[in-house]
Structure formats: structure tokens, C-alpha cells
């Protein structure tokens, strides 16, 4: 699976990483819903670190479409909220 960290680059990850990403994503959503900036920054940092550590960085000559695109490392809580606004409620509620 190819995962891109926006503004940073692409990584190739094995399937088992997906479950961990999903977990981290839940924690991220909780932080957004709670309006907790600190928790959001921490969880986002955790997700991205996971990808950097488990993944192989794609070379500059490799042209591949990403299966998943993660937010940029400096995304703020306000930006995350904006991104999620207008998202169907049932998906937000999981």
C-alpha cells in the first residue's frame, strides 16, 4: 500500500500497518471532536511517525498513485475541523 504524507512524500507500507493506522485515526477523530488541540497534535504526530517508521520511502523516480493521503505534519485542529465539515454525519460518528 502506498501512503503519502501531504507536503512530505510517499511511503510503501505493508497491510498490517493499516490496522494500526485505523486505530490512530480513531484517536485523531476523538481529539477533533473534543476540540483538544494538544491531543490532536500528539495523535497526528503518532500517525505520521508510524508511517515513517514502518514504511519504505519511495524514490524520486517512482511515480505511483497513493492509496491513502495523510494530512500534512503541521495541520492544525482548525484545519482538521474544516476538512471534516460537510462530511456525512454517519461517517463522522463511525
Amino acid at each position: 500500500m502506498i501512503v503519502r504524507i501531504a507536503t512530505e512524500g510517499q511511503y510503501e507500507l505493508g497491510g498490517e500497518a493499516l490496522a494500526r493506522l485505523d486505530e490512530a485515526d480513531n484517536a485523531l477523530l476523538e481529539a477533533v471532536e473534543a476540540g483538544d488541540e494538544e491531543a490532536f497534535r500528539r495523535e497526528l504526530g503518532r500517525v505520521l511517525e508510524l508511517v515513517r517508521q514502518l514504511g519504505r520511502r519511495l524514490g524520486d523516480g517512482e511515480l505511483r498513485e497513493s492509496d491513502l493521503i495523510l494530512p500534512p505534519p503541521d495541520m492544525t485542529l482548525a484545519e482538521a475541523r474544516q476538512l471534516l465539515s460537510g462530511y456525512p454525519r454517519d461517517l463522522l460518528d463511525r
Binding site: 485515526d25 524520486d60 511515480l63 493521503i69 500534512p72
Partner: protein
């Protein structure tokens, strides 16, 4: 997934809109070259703006720190004159300015990081456009027309994603530069209006500098009074 899939959806929508416009890989390449040139120009312009903003902020940090140390001198003077209230007001203001200076310094650091990121992104984009040009030829030589079409279109999607990503990085850098500029302008305005230097006015105490001047004057008056008294007394 929540936030992560949402980010994917938004970016992918942009990328696919781009890719759908091209029927021919030549168009992809041409557009990519063109977009790459534009992006490189924008990156250069942004870097120049960052340099200007940085200089301005560095000057402001110096000025904030100078004002802070002057306030400390004033606090000392106030204490010597037995005016603890004034000393406290000056020290409070000093702490505020030091907070401002630290904030500006943190932003300076962020700006430097932003600049480095842009440089890396620009280099990567250049490499990817080059890779696409090379791969297009190899694929055409090696595969049947139908197969080549599929492979080239995959590579084109990868390239478009890269273009979109550099665009995003640039947008974010520009936003940060703009914020910094606004902040620098706000501090400049504070300085120009005298607020930054003179606004030490807790309830009833008035301006520290003026108050100290008044004390100095009254000391002078006392001294002169004492001298006159002595003269009169010895006569």
C-alpha cells in the same frame, strides 16, 4: 477511517480532475513541465518573501529585547526611589515584551523549516517530471499500445499527485509567510504608535517614564529647597 480517508478523498478528487483532462501522455508531460515551471517560480518568490520577513522579524526581536532591558533599568530606578508599584508595572511590561520576542523567535524557526521543506519539494518535483519523461519513452517502446496507455496513465496519476502536493506545500508556506508579515506589521504599528514603549499604565500609576521624571524633578526641588534653606539659615 475518518480524518485520514477524508484527506485522501479531497486530494484525490483534485488529482483525478487533473488527470481526466488529459487524453494523451504528451499533454500530461507538457502540462507538468509548465506547472513545474510555475511552481518553481512561485517557490522562488516565496523564498524571497521569507528572507524579507525574516530580516524584519530579527530586527523586531532586537528591538523588543532592547526595550525590555530598558524597562528593567526603569524598574531599578523606581525601586531606588521607593516606588515599588512603578517597578512592578515596568517588570510586568518587560515580561510581556519578552513573551512577544520569544513568540517571534519561534515563528522565525518555523519559517526556516518551511523554506527547507519547499527546497526539498521542488527538487523532488523536478526529479519526478524527469522520471515521467523517461518512463513514457520506455513504456512506449516495451509494451503494446493498450498496455502502454494504462501504464502511462498510472504514471501520470502519480505525477499529478506530486504536482498537487507541491502546490499544497507552497500554499501552506505562503500562508505562514503572510501570517508572519501581518504579525510583523502589527508589532511595527505598536512601536510607531508608542504603545509598545510607553504603554505602562496600570490603574492610576500613569506612565512609568513620566512618573520617574516627576520624581526626579521633585528630588531636584527637594535638594534645591534644602540648599536654599541652608543659605537662609546661615545668613
Amino acid at each position: 477511517m475518518g480524518l485520514l480517508s477524508r484527506m485522501s478523498t479531497v486530494v484525490k478528487a483534485k488529482v483525478h480532475k487533473l488527470v481526466e483532462r488529459w487524453e494523451d501522455p504528451r499533454e500530461t508531460l507538457e502540462y507538468s513541465y509548465q506547472r513545474q515551471l510555475e511552481l518553481i517560480q512561485q517557490v522562488r518568490r516565496n523564498m524571497a518573501e521569507v528572507v524579507t520577513a525574516k530580516k524584519r522579524l530579527e530586527l523586531q526581536v532586537i528591538r523588543l529585547r532592547e526595550t525590555a532591558s530598558r524597562l528593567e533599568g526603569q524598574a531599578r530606578e523606581a525601586l531606588r526611589a521607593g516606588r515599588e508599584d512603578l517597578a512592578v508595572a515596568a517588570l510586568q511590561r518587560k515580561a510581556e515584551l519578552e513573551g512577544q520576542a520569544a513568540g517571534v523567535e519561534a515563528q522565525l524557526k518555523e519559517l526556516e523549516n518551511e523554506q527547507k521543506k519547499l527546497e526539498v519539494a521542488e527538487a523532488r518535483l523536478r526529479a519526478k517530471v524527469e522520471a515521467f519523461r523517461a518512463q513514457k519513452e520506455v513504456i512506449k517502446a516495451r509494451y503494446s499500445a493498450a498496455e502502454a496507455q494504462v501504464r502511462i496513465s498510472e504514471a501520470a496519476t502519480g505525477l499529478s499527485e506530486e504536482l498537487a502536493d507541491v502546490g499544497l506545500a507552497l500554499e501552506r508556506a505562503q500562508e505562514k509567510t503572510e501570517n508572519l508579515r501581518a504579525r510583523a506589521a502589527a508589532i511595527d504599528e505598536l512601536v510607531a504608535s508608542g504603545v509598545l514603549e510607553d504603554r505602562i499604565q496600570p490603574a492610576g500609576t500613569g506612565d512609568v517614564e513620566r512618573e520617574l521624571a516627576r520624581l526626579r524633578v521633585s528630588e531636584q526641588v527637594q535638594l534645591e529647597l534644602a540648599r536654599l534653606k541652608r543659605e537662609v539659615g546661615s545668613a
